[in-house]
């Protein structure tokens, strides 16, 4: 990836340097310094540091990481677990893959820091099954780390034991949801759990558990190294730090970019991502992975890439999986593809999602096949209402948002199909 001026490089600093994946090169470039520093600090101080940095969960929900950690009960007789959520399945998202593929040690270092802060001695990286080759790279890195005594009975010679294992998923989008990930890790069907109780107290094997996204953990070394203030200085006053955006669809230069939060959306598309491909006009943008509301080109005007600004514009930052749609795209077909995805990935545990996602997908198929009734457009919205906020996990809502936004913002296209 090209490093562009005016943008802090925290996660992708060394991403393109030759064999960054090897521990020697990683150390040469200042790796594992942060861990050393962290191990010297007080655990609580470390948590406060992370709190102060204003780092927020990069998986999609954007929950402040420091706060999440502080929920974990201290000195219980139960062990604490840190689970790294590398089950990156959100359509349009492929940022974690780059990190683990090219710079696996940054994740290990981040995890080691987090584990130390949370006083956790056993940790798992839940990598989606499709990323087997990524998992292999990560595993290699882990083995190196064990050899270098960075992991194992005593981390970097300090009296702190830590084991990290790679756990491969086997193809289930829902396992990206933290409670579902825990269930899956326990060897069950990946059915999300009802909260409360929250994982922070009753997670993996009913013990206190923290689930963090790869990108979140990977940001830790820099924060520890350069201090919370430096990190907090980046970005806007509510959304601090940098964020990885993985751009795909109709853009000239798709790929993963790191930008300071608060960077203008359109500039990002037009400059960094090289603008819409083949000189076509921009029609719409799905800014944060398929499960956030779509934004029309007009709506994108003046929107900044941060949690608040996007929320204000009626969408979400999500996982930063940006999908760009040009003028030639048929919105009903796009929505149908998305709806199919959710119908396929609904776990089938609770009723509204199980039945609703499938029904919506079938209706959309009908519409595209030209067999839709004019009433179907409203039926889609009705189904969206029936699903929203009634389910155990957010997957149904993740289906509702595209359906509602697509149908309301591009209604004419749907109706045109239904008439014929």
């Amino acid at each position: 990836m090209p490093a562009l001026p005016g943008m802090t490089k925290i996660l992708l600093a060394n991403i393109d340097k030759p064999d960054q994946a090897s521990i020697t090169k990683y150390r040469e470039r200042g790796g594992y310094k942060a861990l050393e520093k962290a191990l010297a600090m007080e655990q609580t101080a470390l948590i406060d540091e992370v709190k102060a940095s204003g780092l927020r969960g990069r998986g999609g929900a954007g929950f402040p990481t420091g706060m999440k950690w502080s929920f974990v009960p201290r000195n219980t007789n139960k062990p604490t677990y840190l689970l790294c959520n590398a089950d990156e399945s959100e359509p349009g998202t492929f940022k974690d893959r780059i990190l683990m593929e090219r710079d696996p040690h940054i994740l290990i270092e981040g995890m080691a820091i987090a584990c130390y802060a949370l006083n956790c001695h056993l940790s798992y990286i839940y990598i989606r099954g499709e990323y087997e080759f990524v998992a292999n790279t990560q595993q290699k890195a882990l083995d190196e780390a064990y050899e270098a005594k960075i992991l194992g009975p005593s981390v970097m010679g300090k009296d702190f034991a830590l084991d990290i294992f790679v756990h491969l998923g086997q193809g289930a989008y829902i396992c990206g949801e933290e409670t579902s990930l825990i269930e899956s890790l326990e060897g069950n069907r990946g059915y999300p759990r009802i909260k409360p109780p929250f994982p922070a107290t009753h997670g993996f094997l009913a013990s206190p558990t923290v689930v963090n996204n790869v990108e979140t953990l990977a940001a830790l070394p820099w924060i520890v190294q350069n201090g919370a203030a430096a990190y907090a200085a980046i970005g806007t006053e509510k959304s601090k730090g940098t964020k990885l955006f993985s751009v795909s669809g109709h853009v000239a230069k798709p790929g993963v970019y790191e930008v300071d939060l608060g960077y203008p959306l359109l500039d990002f598309i037009n400059n960094e991502a090289g603008g819409v491909a083949n000189g076509r006009k921009l029609k719409a943008v799905i800014p944060g992975g398929s499960s956030v509301p779509v934004m029309t080109a007009a709506e994108c005007e003046g929107v900044l890439l941060d949690y608040e600004s996007l929320l204000k514009a009626g969408s979400m930052l999500g996982s930063g999986g940006m999908i760009v749609l040009d003028e030639t795209t048929s919105m009903p077909e796009t929505l149908s593809v998305i709806a199919d995805f959710y119908a396929h990935e609904s776990c089938g545990q609770c009723t509204p999602c199980r039945e609703g996602t499938g029904w919506a997908a079938k209706i959309l198929k009908n519409i595209i096949a030209g067999e839709g009734k004019p009433s179907d457009v409203d039926l889609l919205l009705k189904i969206a209402d029936m699903m929203e906020g009634k389910t155990i996990c957010p997957l149904a809502d993740a289906d509702v948002m595209p359906i509602r936004s697509f149908v309301t913002k591009f209604r004419s296209e749907f109706e045109a199909l239904c008439k014929s």
Binding site: A172, R189, I194, A343, H344, E345, S346, C347, G348, Q349, C350, T351, P352, R354, E355, G356, T357, G358, W359, K362, I363, N366, S375, L379, D385, M386, M387, G389, K390, T391, I392
Partner: protein, 537 residues
């Protein structure tokens, strides 16, 4: 004891109760499929969504604990809307085949549709997800995957109650279906329960299948006569025939469960022919039908003769641990108090020993008689005899000349029953004069001097005392055919014939007298013997 407001009314809940439980206790029914009082909570059906103040989303009443000062609404428009939505979702892929579904009439989908739904289906037939129908899961259960609402009650039952885990979800998304591995039959002594707990027609009973539409059935609350556990059951019958037996919830005995043996035990009643009229041996030694009056008069006279000849000690009273307390009480009254007999027993097998022995950890006991403890408490077990064998010995030795014998074979048959009946026959055979009270014609009665037709379980009302000494009332479901009388009626007649006063008009009267005269039962009233029953010392 947290207080909270439900639909505007202040309600006090027990500590640790969820909203749905508290509401249930106060007569507010919140619609639900997956919630069951005796199963772990799952919260997957989303029917029980309620509106709780200060909560942005609707929350499921089955998973939310009651907090002090909570304000809950289960009937406002927002909730109704949500429930209607969930119901519509449940119905889009349902094969609405109520005409052929045995659940029709007691189906939660039907009930809630009439209350909340009443919508016209908007899904086109082609879109429906089709699944497998009429899957045979062993002797008790038939599975229809299409009708299933995937509430996982059956799965949780096998995971947490029997802990055998036969049933599971298979697949994902809207193709999830329940089933057993390779459609293996449910070889599990409690598999019948999943039929009861299934809120829809997905799991239906193999035994009851197509026998009768449920709305034709009349229900009678009773106690299972299958063993000494005394599970609360409901007998569903029509036109004098029992069609099925299902458990009533009694948290202190059987929770919501019933074993398959007990569930099917009522079939035993119609397997063999009934005795329709009293039979008496004439001079020719052949049993010939007589009227009750004749029978009763001659019995009383004959027994008094024998008493005069060889003393009261020569009369044996042999009771059945399957008879009601009322029957046994009047039996004792006549044979004991009236004739002065001292020799009593009821043990055809080792009931007194295995009455407490559990066959498994869930419900079943080895003693297959519902009232052994009752018999013991009424003092029908004498040390010196020590069971039927002792009685036979005594009869052989000539100490015992006459005997009044009640015997009901257990409703749950065991291999040893043949041999037991052999012993009963032997006893009757060796007795000089024997009066037998029985319901079914059988080999062992042939030697009896007099055979009186009495009603078995489910055809007379009365109380049974289970293994832990819990007295429970069992209602009368159907009328006995022929001249058969309840055991207590028979002895009331005998008492009357022998000049004692017998004022009883009903089992209730008899029970009242019983409570006066038997110290153990002093505190008990008939109302107390209804759910959950009362334990006597």
């Amino acid at each position: 004891m947290p207080k909270f407001t439900l639909n505007g009314q202040e309600i006090e809940a027990k500590a640790g109760q969820t909203i749905i439980q508290a509401a249930e206790d106060h007569g507010v029914e919140i619609p639900h499929y997956c919630y069951h009082p005796d199963l772990p909570i799952d919260g997957n059906c989303r029917m029980c969504l309620v509106d709780v103040e200060k909560m942005p989303k609707l929350t499921p009443a089955c998973t939310t604990l009651v907090n002090e000062g909570m304000v809950v609404r289960s009937e406002n428009e927002r909730v109704k809307q949500a429930v209607r939505g969930v119901l519509e979702f449940l119905l889009i892929n349902h094969p609405v085949d109520c005409p052929v579904c045995d659940q029709a009439g007691e189906c939660r989908l039907q009930d809630y549709y009439m209350v909340y739904g009443l919508h016209t289906s908007e899904i086109s037939l082609g879109m429906k997800v089709r699944k497998r129908k009429v899957i045979d899961l062993g002797p008790m259960v038939v599975l229809d995957q299409e009708r299933c609402v995937l509430c996982s009650r059956c799965i949780r039952f096998f995971d947490h109650v029997t802990e055998t885990g036969e049933m599971q979800f298979f697949g994902r998304g809207d193709h999830v279906a329940i089933g057993t591995f390779q459609d293996r039959p449910l070889d599990n002594p409690y598999s019948g329960n999943v039929v009861d707990i299934c809120p829809v027609g997905a799991l239906t009973s193999r035994d009851f299948r197509f026998k009768c539409r449920v709305w034709f059935l009349h229900a009678t609350d009773s106690i299972c006569g299958g063993c000494s556990t005394g599970c609360a059951v409901r007998i569903d019958h029509r036109d004098g025939a029992i069609f099925r037996m299902i458990p009533r919830r009694n948290p202190e005995v059987n929770r919501s469960w019933l074993c398959d043996e007990g569930r099917l035990s009522f079939h035993e009643l119609n397997k063999t022919e009934r005795i329709s009229r009293p039979l008496m041996k004439g001079r020719d030694g052949v049993q010939a039908p007589v009227t009750w009056e004749e029978a009763v008069r001659s019995i009383d006279a004959r027994l008094k003769e024998i008493r005069a000849a060889n003393g009261a000690g020569s009369i044996l009273g042999f009771a059945s641990p399957s008879a009601t307390n009322e029957g046994l009480f009047l039996f004792k009254r006549y044979v004991g108090d009236q004739l002065g007999a001292t020799q009593f027993d009821f043990r055809v097998d080792s009931e007194d020993k295995n009455v407490l022995e559990e066959e498994d950890q869930i419900l079943r006991h080895f003693d297959k008689h519902p009232n052994s403890i009752g018999a013991i408490k009424l003092g029908l077990m004498s040390k010196e005899l020590g069971g039927i064998d002792g009685a036979i010995e005594a009869a052989r030795a000539g100490q015992i000349k006459a005997g009044v014998v009640i015997y009901f074979p257990p409703l749950v048959r065991r291999p040893c029953d043949e041999e037991v009946e052999g012993r009963v026959f032997e006893l009757i055979d060796v007795l000089e004069y024997s009066v037998v009270l029985a319901a079914h014609k059988s080999e062992w009665q042939t030697a009896a001097s007099v055979v009186l037709p009495v009603t078995p379980w489910s055809e007379e009302e009365g109380t049974y005392t289970n293994f832990e000494g819990r007295v429970q009332f069992a209602g009368k479901a159907i009328d006995a055919g022929g001249d058969a009388l309840a055991v207590w009626e028979a002895f009331a007649m005998l008492l009357h014939a022998s000049g004692a006063e017998s004022p009883w008009m009903s089992a209730e009267d008899v029970f009242a007298t019983l409570t006066e005269h038997v110290p153990a039962y002093r505190e008990v009233t008939l109302d107390k013997t209804r759910l959950p029953g009362v334990i006597v010392g």
